[in-house]
Symmetry: C2
DNA sequence: ATAAATGGGTCTAAAAAAGTCCCATCTGGC
DNA sequence: GCCAGATGGGACTTTTTTAGACCCATTTAT
């Protein structure tokens, strides 16, 4: 049974304006439970900053609908609840105007495909997992035998690694980190993520040990090492690239850059960072992690598929700078970043936001 | 923008179960205002048996949505409100399962096309007008030059006449009453309806003066009259038939049938009546208005289009008896009758009912 | 001109919602 | 096999929302 949807989105919102709010609230709830089941009533309430009773009412309603079960261990989704949370997603996206937003971003940015995940990563950490799941699913579909897959660090790529389904991939795939060890939490380092992705894919992986703390000369020496050279070569010939996007000043501060280096980056208008390279709003490289130089500059030329995962309103400028000026194949972002990008581009849809 | 609807109907109902109730309530409200504008707050409240405040809340909400305007004369629909009430109808029908119900009735009955109007005629008189409007619209599309259109009496056909749009129809059309004057209110007599339909179509019409109160012999004499004979001939050669359906015992009691005649009809199992002919559940003619005999028996053979309009749960059996055994081209009924028919046929969808 | 109907405002009563606690029970770690 | 901690369910109170019943100034149709 097929029906034209477009007009009903608006019509339904007109005649039942509370629909969007109700739908979004319960969708968020189901989605959170999906990722955290079994979870107690109180942790759930505090997660959404809701009163205990108000959440209980929702849970009772959804339980009566057969969407979730609640037992002594906590609240979990029933099978039909799990089906629903995926089934309803395209409708929700249409209702919230995210489908239109995706089309808008296709025009604004230089990207072949866009996926906007409902919600705001800054308010709802489940959104990050959803982004990871979406990117991971597409990543798997891209894999072919003997491909080299280069991954960057950061929370976004970590989420992709976490949500990647376990199971064998085509033969001969190798996963490499696109950068050496950074001064971050180990879970978000490129090395670690490469290893996790490889484990999920049952593929090989290489590690690149280039701590940022190394001095310029030491770095030059290490980079002449045969092993390091081979991995650098692999990175540059990677067929699939998966990377997040950093906010320039955050990254510069996080990595031990000198104060004058930071000052210079600011002066040059750096807004975004990828693989240790800093970009200004025009998409030009205006700096890099000390010592590494621009050895990654020609990554895009060899890569066949470039996947970007990034979320949060504050990353909008960085996304525009990078994805707006350099062609990418897939961009997975959250609603927060997507709306902000559309706002900046002066092309916002005026739709109501999903998040509070 | 196209989307698959089927599953969303159920999915939306699952995750936002209050949607159906809200939608139906406001749809009913808009529909009533559409037909009664401008109408005051108090008459509206009493029409729906609602408290004054509770209705005011709904009206305020719909006003804020820009669907209706309220001024000193009362409440009316805005243009977008009028558009909405028609735009949302197919969605509402799908949500309530009426689209499925229509398909089910196609299988149960011998009819080419079915239209189920949301609501129950017995609780909401606006439903009758909606039925009339739907039938009238299709009737107009069927008209061709020099056609003879025969109409029956009753409230349903009267509604069709009322809702028929005013404007010229193809040339040479003639409207005739399918039966003589009955002992009913003048507005519901076939003669009167034929005249009103003709006026709307700017077509010619003939009247047939055969009061039921006439005795058997007098009737026989009148029927030999040349004029009467010609009209009877026209009726029998009508290309388009529009008729309602009567409930057997109501009709028998209403028309002055003798007690023994009523007894005989009951004994024969008469359940439905059309054009003065009584049908049992098997669709066989078991009686007729005295004197007229079966002169209309072969109506169907000449008619090219037969339209039936009938509503109300209590007419379900009659509809089954007649439309279930004699081929019709179009059946316009209300949700009440449609659901009852499906129940009787043991094939009910189990959907929630539109009406309270 | 006038009488009836209109929407809007207000006061009050009732009901529903939400916050806050407690408790029996079960789970999971050890 | 035990114990600490978390689980959902229930009960009570406070708050908020809702709904009912008026009255009133204005306007409209007669």
């Amino acid at each position: 049974m097929l029906m034209i949807m477009g007009f009903e989105k608006d019509s339904l919102n007109l005649i039942v304006p509370e629909l969007a709010e109700l739908l979004v609230k319960r969708y968020q709830l189901l989605r959170k439970i999906y990722y955290s089941a079994p979870i107690g009533r109180r942790p759930l309430a505090s997660y959404f900053n809701l009163g205990e009773k108000i959440l209980r009412k929702e849970v009772d309603l959804l339980r009566e609908q057969g969407l979730l079960i609640v037992d002594q261990r906590g609240i979990s989704l029933t099978p039909s609840g799990e089906n629903l949370v995926t089934d309803i997603t395209p409708y929700l996206k249409s209702l919230l105007g995210l489908t239109l937003l995706e089309e808008r971003l296709l025009r604004i940015l230089k990207v072949k495909r866009v996926l906007v995940i409902p919600g705001n990563l800054e308010n709802d950490e489940v959104v990050l997992l959803e982004m990871g799941r979406a990117a991971a699913k597409i990543l798997r579909e891209l894999l072919e035998p003997d491909m080299i897959l280069a991954v960057s660090g950061g929370t976004s790529c970590a989420a992709v690694a976490d949500m990647l389904s376990e199971g064998p991939a085509p033969h001969g795939i190798e996963v490499v980190p696109a950068r050496g060890g950074l001064g971050e939490v180990v879970d978000y380092q490129a090395n670690n993520i490469a290893a996790r992705v490889a484990r999920k894919l049952r593929a090989r992986y290489r590690l690149l040990h280039l701590p940022d703390s190394l001095g310029e000369e030491a770095l030059q020496i290490v980079m002449k090492d045969e092993k390091v050279q081979r991995i650098l070569g692999m990175i540059n010939s990677a067929k699939v690239l998966l990377h997040g996007i950093g906010i320039a000043d955050e990254m510069a501060r996080c990595r031990n850059a000198t104060p004058e280096e930071i000052k210079r980056l600011v002066h040059e208008g750096a807004v975004g960072e990828v693989f240790g390279l800093f970009y200004n709003a025009g998409g030009e490289i205006v700096g890099s992690i000390p010592g590494l130089g621009l050895y990654l500059d020609n990554l895009n030329k060899h890569a066949r598929h470039v996947i970007v995962v990034a979320g949060g309103r504050k990353k909008a400028e960085a996304i525009i700078a990078i994805v707006g000026n350099h062609p990418r194949d897939l961009l997975v972002l959250d609603e927060g970043a997507a709306r902000k990008i559309a706002e900046i581009a002066g092309d916002n849809g005026g739709d109501k936001a999903f998040d509070e």
